[in-house]
């Protein structure tokens, strides 16, 4: 288990982990941040954070890719927030956020199984799916999605809330 070896201080394990997962994490960061240089900085933050927090990972609680992707996405959301608050300071990247994330993957399967989610997404209408993708993959806020879709803010919040309720019911069925 590469994350366990990272927790034990094995640099080779981090290197291997980077080789295996950085393309997907970088693709995600690029899509959320829209600026390659910022995504590169964020990816560095993410792997520094993975190295420092690898001991928090518990394989019994989840898959490594979900854990690492969450670190990457939350980092991007944090950067987007800071960028809006102080656009001139975007280049001055802060230290990684100290969020407490604990999800892991005993099988070390880096690609996420999607069959169950895809089946549940198929139950949503097109606007609901679009909202979820804009938020999760694009890092868009309710307000962003409202502007992009030309829909009232309250309607967008309602679509997302109902989509998540539907997904939960389907995923837990």
């Amino acid at each position: 288990m590469l994350l366990e070896r990272c927790a034990a201080g094995d640099p080779g394990a981090l290197q291997r982990l980077y080789e295996l997962t950085s393309p997907l994490l970088f693709g995600c960061l690029n899509r959320m941040l829209h600026r390659r240089a910022l995504a590169e900085e964020a990816l560095q933050d993410v792997f520094v954070s993975i190295w420092q927090r690898a001991a928090q990972f518990r394989a019994s609680r989840g898959r490594p890719m979900a854990w690492m992707m969450s670190i990457a996405r939350y980092r991007a959301i944090d950067l987007l927030r800071k960028e809006r608050a102080a656009p001139a300071l975007v280049a001055e990247l802060p230290e990684p956020a100290a969020e407490s994330l604990q999800s892991q993957d005993p099988s070390e399967t880096w690609a996420a199984p999607q069959g169950m989610l895809e089946r549940c997404l198929a139950l949503l209408n097109e606007r609901q799916r679009q909202c979820l993708e804009l938020a999760f993959l694009g890092g868009k806020s309710h307000e962003d999605i409202s502007r992009l879709t030309g829909s009232p803010l309250g309607t967008v919040k309602s679509w997302i809330r109902r989509a998540l309720q539907s997904l939960r019911s389907c995923l837990e069925a």
Partner: protein
Amino acid sequence: MTPHEPQIVDALAAEYVLGTLRGAARRRFAHWRASSALVQERCRFWEEHLVALTARIRPERPPPHVWEGIRARLNLARSGSLPGARAARARRPGRTAAIAASVLLVAGMATLVYWRLQTGPLSETATLSAPSGTSLWSVEVYGRSGRLIVRSAQPPARPTDRDYELWALPAGGQPVSLGVLPPRGVQQRMLSTSQLQSLLNSAQIAVTLEQSGGSPSGQPTSKPLFIAPLHVVT
């Protein structure tokens, strides 16, 4: 923030993971997560499931200087150079073969995983057979990438001006065309989002005989000649 009804906790966790919980509420929720087993569990639930959305992301190889930056920030030894990067130092001759083998192994694994990220695992399969049991076509669906592979085994004869057309049969919906079947060999094609969703919402696929090039109306013009169940690959 104090514990609330589980439904409220779950709703907040879902929006936190989705990314639509923002600002001070997001920061408060992150602190709450650190101290609440329920909040942690609900966040993990959503992280584990929603991560599958990242199958829609095209993987991109970051430039080499990113890894160098990570290595420098963590003060890791130079041995952490990525495969393919030029070794700046001369190595002892006796170790060259072993190092080269290791590099090739790692590069091979990276390539394999990169391919897997792009194509994704096999999601569903089906075999269309004649009533006699003879296998006609086998179908493979790669849900992550939206790729459909059809292999012709012993397809039945057809008039020259006709084609066999494949259909998804989504629950509660109209048949959705997946294209004309190949008369021989292997055919790969990328499904549209609507085709893939229809297919993933189908328990069966079917084949009809249509005019050359497929049904012009987008709907079957005859009853199915062959029907096969889709098997989910676990």
